[in-house]
Symmetry: C2
Subunit: 337 residues, 2 copies
């Protein structure tokens, strides 16, 4: 149905439209690309592409514009991810290299990605559930309160205060702390519930109320997925974009972290690149945007995702290259910590 030349025409249309932002006509195509055929032939191919739904005309007697389906085909079969220039790669290193703590790594990453792509960048904090326990600390705060601090190997620190206890003794806290660390250090967070199950039974009866309270807060902090936190950057780039939807809708969608988290969650889990184009996005306000995302992690352990949001009319090869490179680098940085 679609021979090689028709695919070449589609590729050319996408590339031209992305760079000029104007419907592209047969003559312009023949001029700017060496397709080896005349405009008339290109026109014939175009009607075929249009019948199949890959391109569309804004109105009769205008050039053609790729549809979501057209971009999809382009991304899947007609383009190759563009590697970064060496200058860009150096920029990544110098930019991310100086970061000290997790917050700063994430903050720098999001700014970097926004700058590289000139679009809106999204970075999700590393998931707690995929990391392992490095240390658990308990701190008595007076007679009724204890603070629990959970430190993971990805640099996350979660703390909670446990309130409403009775007669907390230093010694009981010490015993519990030692037991917890013996049982949990090095364990995957997902295994913590199991590992913790029969601990209270091993304690002297007087300590059990305290242990139960601490454990319930500990488990809760794992479940509550505080890890589901994201950071946005480069929203100023939205001003230069032209969506068919209103800017307001897009901004609203981006501000709803829940929406973004759901979308990221729907996307490919491994370290692969995933692209969601236009109406493929389940959220209304993002119908006219595309999202390019990739997972990052330490070694084979996926931790979370990063992504870029822009108009469907987007430089897919370039954006995909930037996202992939930053995701890899982020993994390395975290591994080196």
């Amino acid at each position: 149905m679609l021979d090689d030349r028709k695919l070449a025409v589609l590729r050319a249309i996408v590339e031209d439209y992305v760079s000029t932002n104007e419907p592209v006509g047969s003559k312009a195509l023949a001029d700017r690309h060496t397709l080896g055929v005349s405009p008339a032939t290109i026109r014939n191919d175009m009607v075929a592409l249009e019948e199949e739904g890959y391109i569309a005309q804004p109105h009769t007697s205008a050039g053609r514009v790729p549809t979501d389906k057209g971009y999809r085909l382009f991304v899947d079969r007609l383009s190759t991810v563009k590697p970064l220039s060496s200058a860009e790669r150096r920029a990544i290193e110098t930019f991310l290299g100086g970061a000290v703590d997790l917050d700063e790594i994430v903050g720098r990453t999001v700014r970097l990605l926004a700058q590289l792509t000139r679009q809106v960048a999204v970075v999700q904090y590393p998931s707690l559930t995929r990391s392992s326990v490095q240390h658990v600390e308990l701190v008595p705060l007076g007679q009724q309160r204890v603070m629990m601090v959970l430190i993971t190997d990805t640099g996350r620190v979660e703390q909670r205060v446990i309130d409403g206890l009775e007669d907390v003794s230093e010694e009981a806290v010490d015993r519990l702390r030692q037991m917890l660390n013996r049982a949990l250090v090095g364990k995957w967070l997902t295994n913590v519930p199991n590992a913790v199950e029969d601990l209270p039974a091993q304690l002297p009866p007087d300590d059990r109320a305290l242990a139960a309270a601490v454990l319930s807060v500990l488990l809760e902090s794992l479940v509550e997925r505080h890890d589901e936190k994201i950071v946005l950057g480069g929203t100023a780039n939205l001003a230069a974009m032209d969506f068919s939807a209103s800017l307001r809708e897009v901004l609203e969608a981006l501000e709803e972290n829940v929406v973004l988290l759901r979308l990221l969650g729907e996307m490919g889990d491994r370290s692969m690149l995933t692209v969601r184009i236009g109406a493929e996005n389940s959220h209304e306000g993002l119908r006219s945007t595309s999202i390019v995302s990739a997972g990052y992690g330490i070694g084979d352990q996926p931790l979370a995702k990063i992504g870029v949001v822009g108009p469907t009319r987007m430089d897919y090869p370039g954006t995909m290259g930037a996202v992939r490179a930053v995701a890899r680098y982020l993994g390395q940085i975290l591994a080196g910590q």
Copy 2:
């Protein structure tokens, strides 16, 4: 120079222009307000106001529009802060009431303020330097590392890991922890440097290297003003605003937290309301916006600031009312924690 009626005319112009977003003419004024005089008289007043620089014409034969100077006079002398409706006040209570930790309080506050004003809201995290020490915890992490956790009475928790130590012993850490808590609990953070000064001398010589490392990190964490952290909300409302500057400039300025922090810092410190109008803002990108801010705190202790950013053509009385109310409520919530 400006009699009462001229001021009334200016007030009417501001009010009409804010609500209609169109240059307001003498006839419309006479109709919509009961100024008791004819359009011709109003016109005469208008030329006076224009000569003084309070209003301007976009072009001959158009109505008048307030200048920055006009808004300034309006805010200073012609308007009264508008108290919130009881429905709005209830909304604040229910909205902020359910928050549990500091992050959630701040997050909810910023969304609330954005919703009340339909503009962009800014909330600054409570300053560390104005709160006092509730507890200092030290946690040994293996032989070379110690984690320091600083808890304040405003609910902030700062933690650092101190690296590159040698032969950390449990006992030395215990000694140092006890000493630190004895010396610091209840102290204002601003007094911590003083209180800490001659501590190392009181320790056995073997502990001093550890103490020095911990203290330097502790002091550093006070100086680094991690407290200078802000959260934005309601940026979607920008889409509906019309600046004379480009949307991009405004977004860029807002994304630069440093810029916002500086601006907030320049504004009145006490719990008073402060308004910066148009060119009064030192930052280029915000020349065509106004910022309404207020400090919040516990009792008389100012902690930080909140604010709203919108077009100079803004409902000042309403915005000021909302900002003031939210700031007060926020103080109460924090005090009740």
